[in-house]
Structures are given as structure tokens and as C-alpha cells.
Symmetry: C2
Subunit: 147 residues, 2 copies
DNA sequence: CTCAATTAGTCAAGTAGCTTGACTACATGG
DNA sequence: CCATGTAGTCAAGCTACTTGACTAATTGAG
């Protein structure tokens, strides 16, 4: 039993590794060679709305300092802006720029490319079943940007 | 279509993240708090037989220097030994020690623990179908130790 | 109202795991 | 025999994280 479990765990990790690689390639081809997976995960939280650096930190499962550095990069590269909060001078709400939104669309297209390749191997129905199964075992917690 | 693809990609990554976390926890509980995922992947190649540092490097998708450092850690911590090759004085074949084999057994048990939790959510049959689907989409190439 | 405690965020220094470049020792084929 | 290739290590540098210290703004108890 244990050996099959290892096999399943390895399949999950190898598949995740492949997904990351394919999306990274797709992003580079679409003109976004400088965004890492962690940036993408930050985008998810930021586009969800009303996000601060601390929210991004919690979402990524890293310290606020690490999130602060990451956001700083995104600001410098023109993906994100810091919006001062009139009700609390400490807070600086984050928002995507037009370039940031273009980047998320490119990420969606890259993910779709990756999944399209899977249809050749397990069919559209297989992809559908895989999606359902994974949705039920995948957690809600923070998405750590590294192993 | 793209949005569902993103959902699937996120599920894969979140699941992989969870697997890593659960196995890491399981290893720490079993008395192996100092082995990282990359070490585990190295164990896979080493236990497969006749592995050199270069083989480990290729298996992990890293440089030979990185693999050399990683193997050095495993040797220092008593998981691996370097066996000189009588036919080629340059080569030093790697082999697991008794502790190294105990570590792989602990990893298998930890993986089994993680999978056991999934059965509560998608059932034994779900796990079986998930295993089959993932085996067909997961690649054979090197298993990079980071995102 | 005041001030101690909390919160948002940054600055600075240290660490871990990778990289590239240079090198030694051994092996191989003309 | 020697030029070329291979296994492996040493050393230095980079990057993304960490911990610790700090400023500035807000909150709440008395």
C-alpha cells in the first residue's frame, strides 16, 4: 500500500512541476519572462480585492518582509500600484495595473495551453474528472511558493 | 475555458504543496526532521542503483555542483555512503546506509498517511482513479526540487 | 484625553540553496 | 604519449527567503 502511495505522491509532484514549467514557458513566450510563480499567486490575492502586503504574505505563507520585497518588484515592473487608504494612513491597498491585468490573462492562456496538452493523453472527459477529483483533495490554505 | 484551466492548474499546485507539507510533517514526526524534498528525490535515484553525483544531478535537474553539495549533506548526516569504483578511480558510486533505508521507509509511510486522508474525501475508488489519471499526465523527466 | 499596546510597513543583516567559473585527478583514443 | 573528455570538488556570487529592529499610525483602557 505504501509503495502505491509514494507513486501517487510522486505523480502529483511531477505533474505540478510540469505545470509550473509549462506556464513559465508560456509566460515567457507571451512577453512576461520576469514573473515567477510566486508573483502569479500574489496576483490571485491582489485581484481578489482589498489586499495589503500582509494579506499577500498570509496568502503565500511567507513573512511580511518577503511579501513586501515581492510587491516592491511588482510595483517597479509596472504590474501593481499602491493605493493609499484615506481611512488609515498606514495601509496601502494593492491594485493591478493594466499591465498586471494583461499578465493575468496571459497566465490564464498559458494554463489553458498546458491543460490542452493533457487532453491528448486522457481526453476532455479525463481532464474533467481529474479537475473534479483534485478540487476535492486540494486544500484552501496558503500556497507556498517553494518546496 | 481558460478560467477552468487556471482552476485545474491551481488545484494541482495546491495539492502538491499539501503533499509536500504532509510528508515533511510525517518525516519530522518519525525522527527525520533534516531531510528536504530534494533529498527524498535523490534517494529515489540512489536506491535505484549505480548512481553517481552526476546521475543525481540529472535526476534532480540541477548542476553537478548542487548535487555534490546535497550528497555531501546526506553523507555527513549518515544517510549515504560513497563507494569507490575499482574500475574507475574517478567514480564514486552512491549507496544508502541502513539509516538511509529507514528514511525511505519513513517517507513511504508518510506518503501513505497523506493519501489516507484523501480517502475520506474522494474514497478509495477516487484515489484509484486519481492515481490512474495523474500517472498518464505526469512526465518522466527530472523532478526539479523547487518552483 | 492620554498613553501603552497593537498594527502596517520598511530597512538591514544573515542564511540556504542554487548558479557559474576554475580547477584537479583520472580515463580514453588516436 | 599526449590531447581530449569525464567525475568530482572548491570558491565566489546571486536570489529569495529569514529574523530582528525600527518608524509611523491607530486603537482602546482608564
Amino acid at each position: 500500500m505504501d509503495v502505491e502511495a509514494v507513486q501517487l505522491a510522486m505523480s502529483v509532484l511531477a505533474t505540478a512541476s510540469r505545470v509550473i514549467e509549462q506556464i513559465q514557458d508560456g509566460m515567457a513566450r507571451r512577453g512576461f519572462p520576469d514573473v515567477r510563480p510566486a508573483h502569479g499567486f500574489a496576483f490571485v490575492r491582489i485581484s481578489h480585492g482589498d489586499a495589503t502586503v500582509l494579506d499577500v504574505a498570509e496568502h503565500l505563507g511567507v513573512t511580511k518582509q518577503a511579501a513586501s520585497q515581492l510587491v516592491e518588484q511588482l510595483v517597479q515592473r509596472g504590474y501593481v500600484t499602491r493605493v493609499p487608504d484615506p481611512a488609515d494612513a498606514r495601509r496601502r491597498t494593492l491594485a493591478l495595473t493594466a499591465r498586471g491585468r494583461a499578465c493575468t490573462r496571459a497566465a490564464e492562456a498559458s494554463a489553458a495551453d498546458a491543460v490542452r496538452g493533457w487532453q491528448d493523453e486522457i481526453g476532455a472527459d479525463g481532464v474533467r474528472r481529474l479537475t473534479r477529483l483534485l478540487a476535492r483533495v486540494s486544500p484552501d490554505g496558503p500556497l507556498r511558493p517553494a518546496w
